[in-house]
Symmetry: C2
Subunit: 421 residues, 2 copies
């Protein structure tokens, strides 16, 4: 380890060890203390509005060259502060996941086996410019009984510190250790690297931000990661689709919000219905401001469509732009999704239950949908109350990551003196 990295590694180790000790206290804290901390933090955010706005103004002033989109993500206003405070209270109102009995059974020898939800321990959160992630992540980790080490983008450091001060006030008021929610002690980029290598110190890393950040985290991390690099999602309109439903679903899946990871990027449509239905779908979306790229068969129906290349089918636009491909039934649609998809969310529209079942069973994606908009891939829509992100890996949790997914489990085995011999 070189001379520059060394003090950073030490800073990380100190923070992580304090977090580990705090996690032990949090794990044993009951729901009332955790909820009290969340509500007190919400009150502190509301009471501290002027301080938060001043810190945010200082961030904006110190970073005058931000793009308008970046600036919009960074800016705080009274409505956003109120929403953060409400978010903390919403998490307080959710059931406590810790101690929940996930399964219980009795063995022939009388041993009672219980699988019980348990906090993960220490979570590392690496994010970019949205200050509200500081409050959201702190709330979810705290409620899930884990300590969290927050490393936000340097552009929003003053805003995040001000938000963090409100969380710390909440923890103090509830008698919980302040080390349960810590801001990273360093804005050095090397600190992120140290977090990613902190096997044994940090139990889980959750990145939240653009594709570049998430890919770096996935590539470099030696600590388990819950994340999705992209949502290259497909809506497949099968020959037996209800055309009206197909039009409503596609319009929502593509255009409700184009920048979310659950947005559809590619339309797959069966050749049997494309000549009739595709022009209607394209007209619907065009009226909503959407652009298109089509394969040769789509362009034989609508010659004005720009050409979709292979690279286009592999691109997550996150914009008002739709790839279109005409396919020859289920297998052809699945083959395309397997080749170009990102195992996030893919939907089929059909009235044929057998085809829908085959589609859902054959997909590797975290979420498969039948006759619904891909934009339902969201923790709130799943009923989780809140989510910290969407995971597309294979281990631990897939799809929306809520309080339940932020926990691990352990077994309680309850006997009356049983021995094996």
């Amino acid at each position: 380890m070189n001379a520059i990295a060394d003090p950073i590694a030490r800073q990380l180790e100190d923070a992580a060890r304090a977090a580990r000790a705090a996690a032990g206290q949090l794990a044993r804290a009951g729901r009332p203390a955790k909820d009290r901390a969340l509500k007190a933090a919400a009150a502190a955010l509301r009471a501290g509005q002027d301080t938060l706005l001043a810190a945010n103004a200082a961030d904006l002033e110190a970073n005058p060259d931000l793009s308008p989109a970046f600036r919009d993500r960074l800016v705080l206003n009274p409505a956003r502060i109120a929403a953060m405070a409400q978010g903390l209270e919403d998490v307080a109102a959710l059931p406590d996941p810790v101690g929940h009995v996930l399964a219980e059974w009795t063995r022939p020898n009388g041993l009672v086996m219980r699988r019980v939800a348990q906090p993960l321990g220490v979570i590392g959160m690496i994010y970019e410019s949205r200050p509200n992630v500081t409050a959201d992540a702190a709330a979810l980790c705290l409620k899930a009984g884990s300590a969290v080490l927050l490393r936000g983008g340097s552009e929003g450091a003053r805003s995040s510190d001000a938000i963090h001060a409100c969380i710390a006030a909440g923890l103090r008021e509830a008698g919980l250790p302040e080390a349960a929610v810590q801001m990273a002690p360093s804005q050095d980029r090397a600190f992120v690297g140290a977090m990613l290598r902190a096997s044994g110190l940090i139990d889980l890393i959750i990145p939240r931000g653009g594709k570049g950040l998430v890919k770096r985290v996935l590539e470099e991390a030696r600590v388990p990661v819950l994340a999705h690099a992209e949502g290259l999602n497909h809506t497949y309109i099968h020959a037996a689709a209800n055309p009206t439903m197909a039009r409503e679903i596609l319009a929502d899946a593509k255009m409700r919000r184009t920048g979310v990871c659950g947005a559809t990027e590619t339309l797959l449509i069966d050749a049997a219905i494309a000549p009739e239905l595709l022009p209607l779908l394209v007209a619907d979306l065009a009226a909503l401001g959407c652009g298109f790229k089509g394969d040769e068969r789509a362009r034989s129906i609508l010659p004005a469509l720009p050409v979709a290349t292979e690279a286009d089918f592999g691109t997550e636009w996150l914009d008002a732009l739709l790839n279109i491909k005409v396919v020859d039934g289920l297998d052809s649609a699945l083959a395309h999704i397997r080749r170009f998809g990102s195992e996030h969310t893919d939907a089929i529209v059909t009235e044929d239950a057998a085809v829908a079942t085959s589609f859902l069973n054959a997909l590797d994606s975290a979420v498969g949908m039948w006759n619904a908009s891909t934009q339902f891939c969201d923790g709130g829509e799943f009923g989780f109350g809140a989510e910290i992100g969407i995971a597309t890996g294979r281990l631990h949790a897939r799809g929306p990551v809520g309080l339940e997914q932020l926990c691990t489990y352990r077994y309680h085995v309850i006997g009356t003196g049983q021995v094996r011999a």
Copy 2:
């Protein structure tokens, strides 16, 4: 990448890509085909007994300098071959975990959310000298719908290849792809390194063998790992323990089998009962051939006990040797377990339900037991039918890893045309 590693990385990539394709077929294969393959493989093992014994004899002849313990792990005989075949049939008789609906709920908008068990994909198994791991791991991965790449120790390569040929015959007979169960194409040590770095090609690594192997895997792996490095387990005899039960449990927990990861390594006993009970416990275990190391307070009761150092309390003996420490109640016992334990399996013996509950809730271990022997930490004893190992990490699965834990999940979201906007 250097000139030596490159061809190995290519071999791995070819094997893993073939495994991925086979995994797709396996994931869609129904239970009958998988069970048919397992039963046919069992029949092939029985029919191939002479071939297996000859291959094993060649392994033993080629490695004349093995320790007796190593040789015992490597050797095959008709009973062991019959047990392997029976193991395959036992796995065939287990329920199919794939497609099992883990949870289902309906949202207010009518969307039906289903969490469904799904195969992990491609599993890498890295093990040492026991040839039966080849059969056991192949059977569990196959039944769980995942392809597996098996890399066993070079000393048992001929035996493992002969066993693998029987599995391959079973796959062929069931019409399943042979690439679903592959032996590593290289015995080069660098191949293990390539497996550990095969992020995106291999979804999960399971090491099975000594502490050295597991630690190497945990340290080097860029792929998720399910494993335990050691089972430094404690049995805590609380002041309110039933003395007879305590004696029976401790004798089993320490001495039923001393070399298994669920064996107790350290006895913690409350000071209030130690003067009366400790001499009885030590006499019981001494009669079974156990040796001891005691802390100062234990030695004040039994001066003949050898001294237990801090290093002793941190050592997994896997032998007929017990560390003994006298503690001052629950908090003192928990502090010791947190400091020296390995988060595997820890037990309390007490008649006081409140103390037992506090103990179970405060432990970070994968398995906490109350009034039962730590040697129950075993997939069979948990009712899983078979296990591929024990996991002590925080993510995905903890405790015994059976068919259910070898699966991941995805969501099926079933709508009737719902849109979000």
